[in-house]
Symmetry: none
Subunit: 458 residues, 2 copies
């Protein structure tokens, strides 16, 4: 038996990488029923890893959709219990023709492993499993109690696992969640994400004439739903990029001067960012920096809008209807249902003459999330990253939404600490997703440190 | 041989209707290259009709796009020569799911023939062909000299046939044009159209980030091209429905008080119109009536607009681009190129921050058209309609555009008389386009009268 968990990882480095490649080969696309078998295989693959480690209560938990994989090791009495979260499902691989290798035939190039799902979230969750293996194959036990919850519906909003957690609070009870999902913001600075924005939204249709009209014959006499849509959408923001919906900012808790200073002190270069996203100038709410606009300010964004003839050439039509899809990103203490109601009210109030509006029902909102300041899980994360990278990690935030953190808070009353070793630039949700191989080993080392430090921090 | 042209039509009524159905089956959509074969078939079908009648010089005349079909009968020395105009091309059939029958599988319901292009312009041009057939199969000759020009690019602005007419003025020389295209404004009052609006326009794309961005991560920090599009489109009109483009109304010739009075004396009911088009209120330029807004005032209308995700559900995206298609309808003496330049200038001037704009080149504008008052072709049209409907026709105008009338005036120096038997309510350019079957026979009767009256009016 090798002496330490860290030494074990060094010794087994090649085999561990090959196992990850095997995992990435399984096409576990949760959004598309044609990948049903791939999703099943990935769930069983994760369960088999847990079985191999000799964990207890290993099982696939059925949901309304794809199963979640559960396992536990609870033999450290008096020590904290953490719920390790990750997801084995992946995004669809389209557009296939943009990939340099087939998305489910992983390939190593320049120290990176390319394949769908390798960064989001197979690589990161695999790190947690291998950290457990390193302990169990050397020390023979874990320093803290661990429950694993690896779900298969993250890419479709985690509906099934949310219900599981809600309905089985005792099974998932823990001191906090340690999430393998979440992505560090940059490759050159280790970081910990301490908040994510919530989400609300509304999809709607504007109706004008009861049928498409000839724009020559009728033009000038009736309201064109496309003109009305433009007016209505333009009314949602003022010229400075601030959301013009009445009451939109009412519940926003202003971020403290210290926290704003912390964000402003982070290394961030607007010019480099403009180059990254391909714009010549930035635009957003006045008096806030780019990072503040992305992290601590709420937004209202159109994700889609359209109507009339959108094919090649021209068509002389005043369309009967126009469509729009809006999502808002929320910050504490905005409430998704309240924001949706306010946006709907704005749209109804500003409805142009000669039009009618209908809202699509059933948008699933997500509350914003923020780790409790000073949380032990956060302090340990900081120490573990310092141990691996020899520099203190940055405290960063996330513009996107992590629904599970909200559900864990709501149903289990516990915080979620993001401790992922993927990086925001790794093209998850895009062709040629990759994961840096050195991060695989750094991640396992950091997770080993994490559990050690947590066990001795009590 | 049957005694008179009118009797011939009665005798062959059913066969004639079946021929029209056969014609409508040919999917001759000129704007969409996937319908290339349908366009070819329709051109050959028209030529075959002319061959069958024994007309001279029957041929397909190549253009830069779809061919025009030409034929002539010039054996009435001393009598006027008229150039009969129509078009065999049709609008795209989208949205397909709104049709009760497949658009190119015509169906008769309640005395109406439903199918794409049946009213615009296959039914009306077929009337002219059958009037010629009725003469040639009974009298054995036509009372006047006739040249047929049936083109295949009316729905894309007649670019090819315009060049044909420009380059072959002697071949198309005539006393005036009798157009089978143009549509009567109502089913219950016969009418003659004395003016049509011109057209200009521009299609463009707004560009934001160089690729689609995640709206959670990036939302709030960059200009969303959909927000920019809404702002830009909203800036094109003021709150009263007046076009806000600088200089847009500069060249508009005010219609005389007499002509405005004539329009206001026409039987027109706003409530009935609202019911017809399915709106609860009208909207347009202040201080003008509905008919004035449609006939003697210029417009700027969006025909299509869109960007981002428009499928089912939601997708968290800030799109890289957004598109729009604009057409303007023009009145004397607005110039299409001048108006296009002014609209482009407005769009450039009002371009929101963080975006870039590109204009699609090559929009073919059309000048507005007005028949010379007191024209012999107009007088004969009045008499022919009175012969069929036993009431004097109304003098009306057209909100739409007939590019050929402009070209005929410009290149041949002759007027165009509109003598069509489609009706404005027949949903051309919309799903469930139809043509009233009784109008098919009334139309043929009226064309027979027209040629008779014209021959004896000298």
């Amino acid at each position: 038996m090798t002496a330490t968990p860290h030494a074990y990882i060094e010794e087994h480095a090649e085999r561990i990488l090959n196992e990850l490649i095997e995992f990435v080969r399984l096409p576990s696309v949760s959004t598309d029923p044609t990948y049903h078998d791939g999703v099943e295989q990935a769930a069983h693959w994760v369960a088999a890893q847990f079985e191999m480690l000799g964990l207890s209560d290993v099982r696939l938990m059925a949901t309304s959709g794809h199963p979640a994989v559960y396992a536990e090791w609870l033999n450290a009495p008096g020590k904290p219990t953490i719920l390790v979260y990750g997801h084995y499902d992946v995004q669809p691989p389209d557009p296939l023709d943009k990939w340099l290798n087939a998305p489910f035939t992983p390939e190593i190039r320049d120290g990176r492993l390319y394949g769908r799902g390798v960064s989001d979230d197979k690589g990161p969750l695999f790190i947690a499993i291998k950290a457990a293996e390193a302990y169990l194959r050397t020390v023979g036990q874990l320093p803290v109690n661990i429950k694993f919850l690896i779900e298969g519906e993250e890419e479709i909003g985690s509906p099934g696992v949310a219900a599981l957690v809600r309905d089985n609070p005792e099974q998932f009870a823990a001191d906090f969640v340690l999430s393998a999902d979440g992505a560090m913001w940059r490759i050159d600075e280790p970081s910990i994400t301490i908040s994510s924005r919530g989400m609300s939204g509304v999809n709607f249709t504007l109706f004008g004439p009861s049928k498409d009209l000839h724009s020559g014959r009728h033009g000038g006499a009736v309201m064109n739903p496309l003109h009305a849509m433009a007016q209505l959408i333009a009314s949602l923001h003022d010229a400075d990029g601030r959301v013009a919906v009445a009451g939109f900012y009412d519940d926003v808790v202003d971020v403290s001067a210290d926290d704003r200073a912390a964000i402003q002190n982070l290394p961030f270069d607007d010019d480099a960012y403009m180059q990254q996203v391909g714009v010549d100038e930035l635009f957003g709410e006045a008096t806030y920096t780019t990072l503040e606009r992305q992290w601590i300010r709420p937004t209202l964004e159109l994700n889609g809008m359209g109507g009339g003839y959108q094919g090649p050439g021209s068509k002389s039509v005043i369309p009967a209807e126009a469509h729009a899809k809006i999502t808002c990103r929320l910050v504490p203490n905005q409430d998704p249902a309240d924001i949706r109601a306010k946006v709907i009210k704005h749209l109804e109030t500003h409805l142009p003459p000669g039009t009618r509006i209908e809202f699509e029902p059933g948008f699933h909102g997500v509350a914003p999330y923020q780790v409790t300041p000073g949380h032990i899980g956060l302090i340990v994360a900081e120490q573990a990253l310092k141990a691996v990278y020899e520099q203190p990690p940055l405290m960063v935030r996330m513009g996107g939404t992590l629904p599970l953190a909200t559900y864990f808070k709501q149903y289990l009353g516990i915080d979620t600490i993001f401790f992922s070793f993927s990086t925001a630039d790794e093209d998850f949700h895009a062709p040629n997703e990759f994961f840096r191989i050195n991060r695989l080993y750094e991640g396992i080392a950091a997770w080993i440190h994490y559990w050690d430090l947590l066990a001795s921090s009590e």
